[in-house]
């Protein structure tokens, strides 16, 4: 059996983390999720630096990225990823409460793969996250890794 790739969730709010994991639990993907608390940690994970220096190598199948985070926000992380030859093709999905045109435009300009606004209604939220997990974790074919 092929080892399934991780899903990286960048989210600073523990409640959002918990609810997201609850949503993914139904589709049995919760155990594949790695949670990072801000933009800096996200990049450390991806580049195997700092606390994540000793992790198993390999990129996640998708990065679910919140925009508003401490230290370094999601837009900056996205810019960093797209300008790093090693991370460039990583599928990135914005998962945010912001519906602001500014954020949408910035994200698409920087080459985001999808932009999902967290629905206020939990049922909708569960559906959205479930679909995201299935699509990006199972259906979508990731680009070959750049070594």
């Amino acid at each position: 059996m092929i080892e399934l790739k991780k899903i990286l969730l960048a989210e600073d709010n523990p409640k959002d983390v918990e609810l997201t994991l609850e949503a993914l639990e139904d589709s049995m993907m919760a155990n594949r999720v790695v949670v990072v608390k801000d933009g800096v940690e996200t990049l450390e994970y991806l580049r195997m630096q700092g606390a994540w220096a000793g992790r198993e190598p390999g990129l996640p199948s998708v990065l679910l990225l919140d925009i508003k985070m401490p230290r370094m926000d999601g837009i900056e992380v996205l810019r960093e990823i797209r300008s790093d030859p090693a991370l460039k093709f990583l599928p990135v999905v914005m998962l945010t409460s912001s519906r602001e045109d500014k954020d949408l435009l910035n994200s698409y300009y920087l080459g985001v793969n999808a932009y999902v606004v967290k629905p206020v209604n939990f049922g909708g939220f569960i559906d959205a996250v479930k679909q995201l997990g299935i699509f990006w974790g199972l259906v979508n074919e990731v680009p070959p890794e750049n070594k």
């Binding site: 409640k15 959002d16 609810l19 602001e100 206020v120």
Partner: protein, 497 residues
């Protein structure tokens, strides 16, 4: 008058010359005629008197020859007329009227004139004829008859004419010189004024003045001209001062505008980041509340009794309402800040799209729509569509207790403005509070009766105001309401040009 046109076109200098010389010539001619008349009369009178006197004198010389009948002596006496320049012929008659002697002798063959009895003097065809009886001691001895020419008068006339001609030439020359001087006196100051005016308008220098001139009309003109110049100068100085002030004001105004714009921009930025935070940070806890509520319902519902379940649904409703409030407030702040992108838009489409958005609320309702065909207007499409969403949404909402709801949409054109309205037969409102309707968070109905956030109409007013229009409403409790808004027509027409 056309006869004098050529005078009008003459320069003032030549006008004065012509007038002065003409007047001088006329005066001279009149003087000449008058003096010549008097002179000629005088000469004529003197000639006559002399003639009569000479006739009497020569008659006296002839007394003795007549008494003695001595014709030779009479001829000698008569020959004295030789000394009289003008007398050409002389005849002496005796007391019987018979010719006694004549002079000159060369006239012997000519028949002598027939004399009258009395003394007489006549003048005709340049010839004077005088006859004078010769008396001695009261007794008539004979008659003397003299014939004289008017050469004296003619030469007198020649002399006068010559004198006057000479005089006329001298006077004309004098009057020309005089007129030349006079025209200089009159036209020179005018030319001076004209040159100065030219210099003023060329150099734009109002500080120039004409030097004072005498007290005549030109002097008055100069004075008035100087007055006018100093008034113009005063006004120019005042204007320059005012312009400077305006410039200063403008500069300070621009400075102020720049300062204010900066302030406004930073305020706007703050507001933007504020509403950004609101959209992100206020929504997150709501989402969490909803999420945990749902988890509670899903995973722990067996442990909850009816009351517990009621609490959960109440919390759920409250947080949903909060969610709507946040969304509406964000919309409101966005429609206040977002740039207007006006275009020529079809109001029919805006209404159709609004109804599509309201589809969920309309579904299952019995509504009779009466929507008139609407015009094109010049406005921001998405903002105007939101206006229709709010107004039509309200109409749908407030007629929800009607078995059949009547909602009509129409328009008219008043004073260059489009007036649109949405009319319903819903709950209506107390018209005393009509103005409150358009305020933020202002509601005239309880949330229990009609759910809502109290932002929709505030949003309508804000959008319409930004388009240069007005909003108002009419209503009556339980009878229905009409909401109006206007859009200026002018902008729309500009687009068509």
């Amino acid at each position: 008058m056309s006869n004098f046109q050529f005078i009008k076109d003459l320069s003032i200098k030549n006008k004065i010359l012509v007038i002065v010389m003409f007047t001088g010539f006329l005066a001279m001619a009149a003087g000449f005629v008058a003096i010549a008349r008097i002179e000629i009369d005088n000469v004529r009178k003197v000639t006559r008197e002399n003639l009569v006197l000479n006739a009497k004198l020569i008659g006296d010389y002839c007394v003795v020859p007549l008494v003695f009948g001595d014709k030779t002596q009479a001829g000698e006496a008569l020959a004295r007329i030789n000394f009289l320049e003008t007398v050409e012929e002389g005849y002496l008659y005796d007391d019987k009227g018979v010719l006694f002697a004549r002079y000159p002798d060369s006239l012997d063959s000519v028949k002598p004139p027939v004399p009258g009895e009395e003394s007489s003097l006549s003048f005709s065809k340049g010839i004077f004829i005088v006859q004078e009886p010769i008396l001695f001691k009261g007794e008539k001895l004979g008659l003397i008859y003299l014939k004289a020419n008017d050469s004296e008068i003619k030469s007198q006339i020649r002399r006068i004419s010559l004198t006057f001609s000479l005089l006329a030439v001298v006077l004309l020359i004098l009057s020309y010189i005089l007129a030349w001087r006079m025209q200089k006196m009159v036209s020179a100051p005018i030319m001076h004024l004209a040159k100065l005016t030219g210099a003023i308008s060329k150099n734009h220098d109002l500080s120039m003045q004409v030097e004072q001139h005498g007290n005549d009309e030109v002097g008055f003109l100069y004075e008035q001209f100087n007055n006018m110049l100093s008034q113009l100068l005063k006004r120019e100085i005042e204007r320059d001062k005012a312009l400077d002030e305006i410039r200063d004001l403008n500069a300070s105004l621009e400075r102020k505008v720049a300062e204010r714009t900066e302030l406004l921009e930073s305020a706007n930025k703050e507001l933007e980041s504020f509403s950004y935070s609101v959209s992100h940070d206020l929504r997150a806890p709501l989402r969490h509340i909803n999420g945990y509520l749902e988890l509670l319902q899903k995973k722990n519902s067996e442990q909850l009794d009816e009351k517990g379940k009621h609490y959960i649904s109440s919390i759920y409703e409250a947080s949903n309402h909060m969610g709507h409030l946040i969304d509406d407030l964000l919309n409101f702040s966005r429609s206040g800040r977002a740039e207007l992108k006006p275009d020529n838009i079809d109001m029919n489409k805006a209404v159709r799209d609004a109804l599509m958005i309201l589809d969920n609320d309309i579904k299952g309702r019995n509504i009779v729509w009466d929507i008139n065909s609407l015009p094109f207007v010049h406005a921001d499409y998405s903002m105007i569509r939101q206006v229709w969403v709010n107004l039509l949404g309200n109409a749908v909402k407030y007629t929800k207790f009607r078995e059949v709801a009547y909602i009509s949409v129409g328009w008219s054109e008043v004073n260059g403005e489009y007036v649109f309205f949405v009319k319903d037969n819903g709950a209506g409102f107390d018209s005393n509070y009509a103005q409150k309707l358009f305020g933020v968070f202002q509601r005239l109905h309880s949330n229990e009766e009609f759910e809502g956030t109290g932002i929709g109409l505030a949003n309508v007013r804000q959008v319409i105001k930004r388009h240069g229009g007005r909003t108002w409403a009419e209503g009556e409790v339980d009878k229905g309401a009409v909401f109006y808004f206007t859009l200026p027509k002018k902008i729309g027409e500009k687009k068509d040009d």
